[in-house]
């Protein structure tokens, strides 16, 4: 399927690519959720279903040399940056071919070939690392920009404010991307932070800050584009807060609405605001997306996913004898 076959302009093709990228993440996450119950992916797994637009919209403005750091909910960021999907699935299965050779699991992802520097699950842990990477770029006069994804809960960590201060002080080329999904595990914002916008706090640290609808991929894209342009051209750190909603449980493959920590009406409106469905209808109205295109995406992803799972499951299992290796470089 090509731009010419579909008779799309460059711009239309790019819009379609955003949908394709979101749908690809969704289907991969759903496949993980579906097979998680088999008890063979033996690591805590945080799915980003419902939050795909942020990973995709931001990554769309990054070049291969730009670097990304992420957190415990990292699959989408990794995939959107071009991370190797076979290595992701193999990592979940603890195989030698996993992106960490089985030493990390879902919460520790890396793919240096595409500038995905690392994701880790200590909340706030990678925020200063991204700043340090931006610092190195600045000291070496390299053009690359650092990006770090984190959540609204992370913004409560002291190290984030230390990082914002340092980045602003040294005017570093970095994008702080705050995915505000309202929840830190099961605790909502109102129990954790006073009623004031997160991005304004970042602004008070001395940097440009933006807020947008994290479920609208084109809005994410346009904010990220402007922020990236400034970061790349000496504008210093940029902070983007994007509102979104976590569909499934904090950790694990299931929906957890029986726990009653959020109301039915809230969940309903959350699921209704689907970044993929919303954008798909917009593209249909603009005659960019047709059912046959959608079908070809689905076929492509289902093949890719089947291949990735087969690759993972047929990969060698590391031996417990290797467990003590690579402690030191």
């Amino acid at each position: 399927m090509s731009k010419d076959e579909l008779k799309l302009t460059e711009q239309q093709w790019d819009r379609l690519a955003l949908l394709r990228s979101m749908l690809r993440i969704r289907r991969i996450e759903e496949a993980i959720a579906e097979r998680y119950a088999e008890q063979e992916m033996r690591c805590p797994t945080h799915l980003c279903i419902g939050q795909e637009a942020i990973a995709v919209g931001v990554s769309a403005v990054l070049s291969r040399d730009d670097v990304v750091f992420s957190n415990h909910r990292a699959h989408g960021h990794y995939i959107a940056k071009g991370g190797n999907v076979r290595a992701l699935i193999a990592e979940l299965y603890g195989r030698s071919t996993g992106c960490c050779g089985g030493r990390g699991g879902s919460m520790h992802l890396i793919d240096l070939d595409v500038g995905f520097m690392g994701a880790t699950p200590i909340v706030g842990g990678t925020v200063p690392l991204a700043v340090g990477s931006a610092w190195a770029a600045s000291l070496k006069d390299e053009k690359r920009v650092s990006v770090v994804f984190f959540g609204d809960g992370c913004f409560e960590e002291g190290v984030v404010h230390e990082s914002l201060n340092f980045a602003a002080l040294h005017k570093l080329p970095i994008l702080f991307v705050c995915e505000n999904n309202e929840f830190s595990v099961y605790t909502r914002m109102s129990e954790r932070q006073p009623d004031r916008p997160i991005y304004r706090i970042a602004e008070a640290h001395g940097m440009a800050a933006y807020h947008g609808d994290g479920n609208d991929v084109e809005e994410v894209l346009s904010i990220a584009e402007a922020a990236m342009d400034r970061a790349r051209n000496g504008g210093g750190p940029q902070f983007i807060e994007l509102s979104t909603y976590r569909w499934r449980e904090h950790c694990g493959p299931n929906f957890d609405d029986h726990l009653n920590y959020r109301s039915e009406s809230e969940i309903e409106s959350g699921l209704k605001d689907c970044p993929i469905a919303n954008f798909a209808s917009r593209l249909e109205l603009s005659n960019i997306l047709t059912q046959s295109v959608m079908d070809s995406f689905e076929a492509e992803f289902s093949e890719e996913i089947a291949d990735a799972f087969e690759f993972a499951l047929s990969s060698a299992k590391p031996s417990s004898k290797e467990a003590g290796e690579r402690v030191y470089a």
């Binding site: 670097v67 750091f69 992106c99 960490c100 050779g101 089985g102 030493r103 990390g104 520790h108 890396i110 240096l112 520097m117 690392g118 880790t120 200590i122 842990g125 990678t126 925020v127 200063p128 690392l129 991204a130 700043v131 340090g132 990477s133 931006a134 610092w135 190195a136 770029a137 000291l139 070496k140 650092s146 002291g158 190290v159 404010h161 230390e162 990082s163 201060n165 340092f166 002080l169 690579r326 402690v327 030191y328 470089a329």
Partner: protein
């Protein structure tokens, strides 16, 4: 007369020179810490580095120990070789998350795909009322964490050579300096040289008792060894351990197989100390070589009080080591020789300064 290219300089000057030469060798070496470019220059260990290498390689920092440690780790992952400095090791506790969860784990958890070449210089205070939060000796805490290297050079020669090795090392290295070593002189080469990490050094040869000592306690042990030799003709073997992690157990075993007796002198709290770990390993591996139970010389298990009156008997010294040796060898402590020996070890001047010239404040 020292040989050519050698001269006597202090430990603090040796560190400054090591930093200077490492920065000269490798443009990716950067230095950051609270007070690095200020007029006091971290006890003069960073003096004039900014003038020489500029504000893009020599940094002061916001009071954000954890954040800046993370920033240094991120920079290290992106090709830099940062040296971060804390004027007191106690301040590094604010950065434990980054040191333990990121620096120490990165290479392992990402299957060796990346590494963190980071040096963290931390200084252990002592005396002049440093008190509970400025004089802890926390090497055991860092040594609990696989992935970190922990070193404690004792002499100026080793301080420079081990600092250079630490900067060239691709792992995070905690470089622990005892404040009372800073003014001690030693013969130090002018050249750029390396002293390997993880190897102890024999400071004094002997066949009666092995004294394995860490950091400033190696200085005290050497004083004890010289006095025992000169007054009583007793030769104890003093090992300057130099590294905590990796710990050079093999050299201690070799010495203990010769002497049959072991004293470990540590600068830290007794319980959970590296001294305890070293003794455990020796007992596990050379139990039959030991004629007597090993002994630990360490700090009491309570915080350092501030008042000089309360702090007076807090620290063990050469007299503690000599007493432990006497106990092991069955020397009569009422003998003339022993009384003469301990008379030699009485320190002149106040107990809470490294030398009479030290007038505070820290």
């Amino acid at each position: 007369m020292p040989e050519s290219g050698m001269r006597e300089i202090t430990y603090a000057q040796a560190i400054r020179e090591g930093l200077d030469q490492a920065m000269e060798q490798d443009a990716n070496v950067i230095v950051i810490g609270e007070g690095v470019p200020d007029p006091k220059a971290i006890f003069n260990t960073t003096a004039e580095l900014r003038e020489k290498y500029g504000a893009r390689r020599v940094f002061d920092m916001p009071l954000s120990e954890n954040g800046v440690t993370g920033v240094c780790i991120g920079a290290a992952l992106s090709g830099m070789r940062p040296v971060m400095i804390h004027q007191r090791i106690d301040f590094a506790l604010l950065a434990m998350d980054q040191l333990v969860n990121n620096a120490a784990k990165w290479h392992y958890m990402f299957d060796g795909k990346a590494s963190v070449p980071l040096v963290v210089r931390v200084i252990v205070g002592r005396g002049w009322g440093q008190g509970p939060q400025h004089s802890q000796s926390l090497q055991a805490m860092f040594s609990l964490v696989p992935g970190l290297k922990v070193i404690m050079p004792t002499t100026a020669h080793d301080a420079k050579g081990m600092l250079i090795s630490a900067i060239e090392d691709n792992n995070p290295v905690m470089f622990i300096e005892h404040r009372w070593l800073h003014q001690i002189k030693d013969t130090v080469p002018e050249t750029y040289y390396r002293v390997p990490l993880g190897q102890s050094k024999v400071l004094h040869e002997g066949d009666t008792v092995t004294v394995a000592a860490f950091s400033h306690m190696a200085v005290e042990a050497l004083i004890a060894a010289k006095a025992l030799m000169s007054v009583m003709g007793i030769a104890i073997e003093v090992l300057d351990m130099r590294s905590v992690s990796p710990l050079d157990v093999a050299s201690v075993l070799r010495s203990v197989r010769k002497t049959g007796r072991l004293i470990v002198a540590d600068t830290a709290f007794r319980t959970g100390s590296v001294a305890g770990e070293l003794i455990t390993q020796v007992v596990e591996q050379a139990f039959s070589a030991l004629k007597l139970p090993p002994a630990r010389i360490a700090l009491p298990d309570h915080p350092m009080p501030t008042s000089p009156f309360m702090a007076e008997h807090y620290y063990p010294g050469p007299e503690t080591i000599v007493a432990a040796v006497a106990d092991m060898l069955g020397i009569d402590k009422n003998s003339d020789a022993y009384i003469k020996l301990t008379g030699l070890l009485v320190r002149e001047g106040p107990h809470d300064t490294p030398n009479p010239g030290f007038t505070g404040p820290f």
